[in-house]
């Protein structure tokens, strides 16, 4: 379609507004808060990975779970396994760090939040970004974002491990079942939030039935899809609360392990 066939008398160009944005609201607030929150998570994560007090019977700190090296204390090992031998001398959290980190790094929601707050691309809607060139996720390295789905599969495993950790937290220091402390509650809440965050993932939504064109021919998958879709609408909220819950749970276990605080025993 053409709006004209002859050239207009004046040159065709955008409105020559020389300002970055005409927004009058505090558009910078949201990216600033996001930046602070994400940055503190990263800082905490670094500290936690290298912190060695990740285990106190019956709790394993989520950042270091599953613990897969022989350097892990007996009770902290996942199902008693230690596939990595004595040769692995680094903190065992490093072994599994990649999965949850990769999952969150390639998550569609986190991508939005750090593209906006870290890379300012764009910092907020209708606010110019500072970069001269932009190629988005069309080339290396950002094209790798497309592997989000595989991290999702991995994240399912992590979710299962954290659930397992929450279950074994229903024991006391002597390993007897039927007990519960504040740590147990925190681990259970965290496991639920992590699992919900994982299931609310866009890739999960796609895999359940999003890829289909005829829902009506796959009623069970459609049902799963509607359920995941409802969760997916809350993906952003789940991303934040599960991020904080994992940080709180992790810190709690470490503080108990260090003896800074004592775990409150319910029964």
């Amino acid at each position: 379609m053409s709006q004209t066939t002859t050239d207009s008398p004046v040159r065709r160009q955008r409105a020559q507004l020389k300002v970055r944005t005409l927004r009058t609201d505090r558009w910078w607030l949201a990216p600033a808060l996001t930046f602070v929150a994400l940055a503190s998570f990263i800082v905490y994560g670094f500290w936690a990975i290298f912190d060695s007090s990740y285990f106190v019977e019956p709790y394993v700190a989520p950042f270091s779970s599953p613990c897969l090296a022989t350097s892990c204390p007996e009770g902290a090992r996942f199902l008693g396994f230690a596939p990595f031998g004595d040769w692995f001398t680094l903190p065992p959290g490093i072994l599994i760090l990649g999965l949850p980190a990769g999952f969150r790094l390639t998550c569609y929601y986190y991508r939005k939040s750090y593209y906006r707050s870290f890379w300012l691309s764009p910092p907020a809607c209708a606010v110019s970004e500072p970069h001269k060139k932009y190629s988005g996720e069309t080339r290396f390295p950002l094209i790798i974002q497309n592997i989000h789905r595989y991290f999702f599969y991995g994240a399912i495993v992590i979710g299962a491990v954290l659930s397992y950790d929450a279950v074994i937290a229903f024991r006391n220091h002597e390993g007897e079942w039927g007990h519960m402390g504040l740590g147990t509650l925190i681990l259970v809440v965290n496991a639920v939030l992590i699992v919900l965050y994982t299931l609310s993932c866009h890739s999960c939504r796609h895999i359940t039935a999003g890829r289909l064109n005829h829902f009506s021919r796959h009623p069970l998958r459609y049902k799963a899809w509607t359920w995941v879709s409802k969760l997916n609408a809350k993906h952003q909220q789940l991303a934040w609360v599960s991020m904080f819950s994992v940080m709180i749970a992790d810190l709690y276990v470490r503080l108990v392990a260090k003896g800074v605080i004592t775990d409150l025993q319910f029964f």
């Binding site: 955008r14 409105a15 809607c125 209708a126 005829h214």
Partner: protein, 254 residues
């Protein structure tokens, strides 16, 4: 309830111009477009603004109000303080014809590049049978009133004019998703979305969804699902390997 509001409106032809100040009467219940019309009728008869239905159904009166893409007819004056200066400018991503009217032909050129609905050859009109749940996703996208504010706000072209040839914008990537999810469409649109229309440029920062006056979840329901469908095709190593080995035709799943 009547008061005098301070307006700053972009005036000028072909992109050259300036913000002009007006003081204008505002009555209860009015929207920004009413005020622009009052300016036309009382102070600036040649002030150009594009509009049509005045009920948020046609998507003609897209402008930027205090820097945010909005429909002039759906922005109530009561959302502003009485002493607030209200700045009205044309959409920034498209060339200006005059005042608030922009040349949106970019969008029509893109529309022409998206292959149309392609039903199977053997289905005749009247024979279509589709379940409600199978059409609902595409129906959401067909609520689009083509106000083009999503394409206007998208930084991929708003901040980088040079990306225009490679990027169809949220509106038309959503159109591809709409057709790809259509129960009767047999064309393959995944490679096209990625290679021709720049789906990979989208970094899902969701401004399109934020500005959509129809509240279509463009990013979550169209762009990300389309990205996932592209992943099925192009970035899933198992699928890739399978297609190499079995030379699978590009038929749709489901």
């Amino acid at each position: 309830m009547t008061y005098k509001a301070k307006f700053r409106v972009w005036r000028g032809e072909g992109g050259e111009g300036r913000l002009e100040d007006f003081t204008v009467e505002v009555n209860e219940g009015e929207v920004v477009l009413d005020i622009i019309h009052r300016l036309q009728a009382t102070q600036a008869p040649d002030l150009a603004v594009r509009w049509n239905c005045k009920a948020g159904k046609c998507g003609s009166c897209s402008v930027e109000i205090n820097g945010k893409p909005r429909l002039g007819c759906m922005t109530r004056m009561s959302t502003f303080a009485e002493d607030e200066v209200i700045t009205v400018t044309p959409m920034r991503t498209f060339p200006v014809i005059k005042d608030l009217v922009t040349d949106v032909s970019f969008n029509y050129e893109k529309a022409l590049q998206i292959p149309s609905f392609t039903p199977p050859k053997d289905v005749k009109p009247g024979e279509y049978r589709m379940k409600q749940i199978d059409v609902e996703r595409s129906q959401e996208f067909r609520k689009c009133i083509e106000c083009f504010m999503c394409n206007n706000v998208c930084h991929v072209i708003r901040d980088h004019d040079e990306n225009k040839p490679k990027f169809a914008g949220p509106r038309f990537l959503m159109r591809i998703a709409e057709l790809d999810m259509h129960p009767y469409d047999v064309a393959d649109r995944k490679d096209l979305a990625q290679e021709e229309h720049g789906l990979g440029y989208c970094n899902i920062t969701k401004c399109c969804t934020e500005v959509c006056p129809e509240h279509i979840k463009i990013t979550d329901n169209a762009l990300i699902p389309m990205k996932e469908r592209v992943v099925d095709r192009k970035y899933d190593p198992l699928v890739w390997l399978g297609s190499k080995i079995f030379k699978r035709s590009s038929s749709k799943t489901g």
